[in-house]
Amino acid sequence: MKFVTQDALRVWLDQLAQEVDLVAPRDVEGHVLYRPVASSAGVLFEYQRPEMSAKDYLFPATEVLLQIEQRGKEMTLEEIVPERKQVLFGLRPCDAHGAAVIDALFLQQEPVDAAYRRQRERTTMVGLACPRMWEGCFCTSVGGAPDAADHLDLLLREVDGGYAVQVVTEKGAALLAGLELQEKKGEPPPSQADGEIVPVAPPQAWRTLFEDEMWQRHGERCLSCRICTYVCPACRCFDVVDRVTSVQPGLTCSERIRVWDACTSTNYRRAAGGHNSRPTKPGRIRNRFFCKFCYYPEDFGPLGCVGCGRCIVSCPVDIDITEVMRGVAERSDG
């Protein structure tokens, strides 16, 4: 196996931080979050699951799609093109899996989402395997694993004295210049993938339960707070709005921005004139779960869930996606 010491890894990260936009897990006032870093100082190497996914760095929560300038009756529209490369370091495999889920719609379905493609192309994803599964995790139920390399460019695994480095893609290989690698005998031990396996019913089984009473039961508890979609690495709904940034005589500048949206919000389906075709919480929460396990796989291929468990630990009223998955599997069996 390829091996790197922690010291050599730090040297490499310090160098990367000079050359690219480097994002890594950090402790932010007691919360572990992926954040931009200027050097290896402050980068966490031992952490559980960051509280937010890394989605924000590929599909930003607020993203300027166009700079709009109006001079008199003349318009100029300019797209924002990020110039620097970006490296996401210390990604958990579920977060790379989340990017792959969004790729299936934004990149693999025509027309390609231009802003997302630019972010994706400039980004290299360096994973750090989870040594074991954490509270709420169920990645092994939905095609993932705590040490899955599938959707990453490089995968690091902690071993005695440093890290084993697995090169997954050419993009990953291209990043290795400056990393002092050694060859060592043996292979890194697999992570402890001992989480309970939650059953995933096929889309057809979900369809038979569209009118089931369980949506009423789960939906009644929902507060429509939207945290589940906010923390989700695979949720991709967005809204598009304009905001005026400056007004001078003869020149108005504004931005067209894309922001994350949530199908669990109260007025998600409210149209002009006031009609709302999904006016109840049970209807909205059903839509979210159906999107993940029925619509998304039917329309775009992958499940819309990577088993990170963030929605479970974040939900203020303990709505548990695995309880829903079990409920569907049990009912559809009968």
Partner: protein
């Protein structure tokens, strides 16, 4: 297809070539595309498609295109929210943005030779105007045309300036009704479903095209079924809030279907298969 070559979220720039009121609070905007690529996209327009219209600085919103016979893309806009109020404040010559035309269209080729019943409710009449024009301009290609036009009140009837032409067209009957009349109204008062029952159009070899608020579509379908129309004879175009128009943003899903890319035009037998209703 939509948008601007490499980026479908980037609008084409257009200019307002004409603005006129077509009902109380509903204004028709004629847009001339300024860029070659936008002109090519607009030339591919087919009745039933929709497009996003931008009032830059305020935002964009989708509208079923109401285009007439001229060279312009035409949008019937009711001032209901921030974007539409801003649009109502624009003047001829002002720049706007257009993404589209988007979505599918009415199968005008496939329904040649058949009788057509058109049911338009309020601003829902907008995307039906180009259907009516297509039939009237190719009159021999279609059978009998029945137009049922409705609104909540007389001042909300759209395209009243075209009523005379529609009435006088060969092999065409035109009926209009309002939910509530006023002191100047001497015509029908009642719902479009009641009017439909009175008119009782021929069923054989007929296709119906309904557009209006969801509640109207729902009951118009029921009445049509009661009269004997089958789901294979009934077309509609659905509205939904949407933010991209290209199947990405998630807003307009009805079950696994997206109004923007699977529609907005649907046969009733397709809608019946939706896991989630439009109402």
């Amino acid at each position: 297809m939509s948008g601007n070559g490499s980026n479908p979220m980037r609008p084409f720039i257009g200019r307002l070539a004409g603005i006129r009121d077509v009902a109380t609070g509903i204004r028709l905007f004629q847009v001339e595309m300024a860029e070659t690529e936008g002109q090519a996209a607009a030339a591919g327009y087919r009745p039933g498609q929709f497009a996003f219209l931008s009032a830059f600085g305020a935002g964009e919103a989708p509208f079923g295109l109401a285009s007439g016979r001229g060279p312009y893309l035409e949008f019937a806009v009711s001032a209901l929210g921030h974007v539409t109020h801003t649009l109502h404040g624009l003047e001829v010559g002002d720049p706007v943005g257009v993404r589209g035309p988007l979505g599918n269209w009415f199968p005008m080729e496939e329904i040649k030779g058949r009788n057509v019943v058109i049911l338009g409710g309020g601003i829902g009449g907008a995307p039906l105007r180009p259907v009516i024009h297509t039939i009237l301009d190719n009159r021999d290609d279609y059978g009998h045309l029945t137009i049922l036009w409705a609104a909540r009140s007389p001042d909300l009837l759209v395209f009243t300036d075209e009523f005379d032409e529609w009435r006088a067209a060969p092999d065409t009957e035109f009926h209009v009704t309002v939910d509530r009349g006023d002191e100047n109204w001497s015509g029908n008062v009642g719902l479009i479903t009641q009017l439909l029952e009175q008119v009782a159009p021929q069923i054989d070899n007929t296709v119906t095209i309904t557009c209006g608020p969801p509640i109207m579509i729902h009951f118009a379908f029921l009445t049509q079924q009661k009269l004997g129309f089958t789901p294979q004879q009934m077309l509609t175009t659905l509205e939904a809030r949407m933010h991209c128009g290209i199947g990405k943003c998630g807003r307009c899903n009805m079950g696994e279907k997206f109004v923007c890319i699977d529609g907005p035009v649907f046969w009733q037998y397709e809608i019946k298969e939706f896991l989630e209703g439009f109402l």
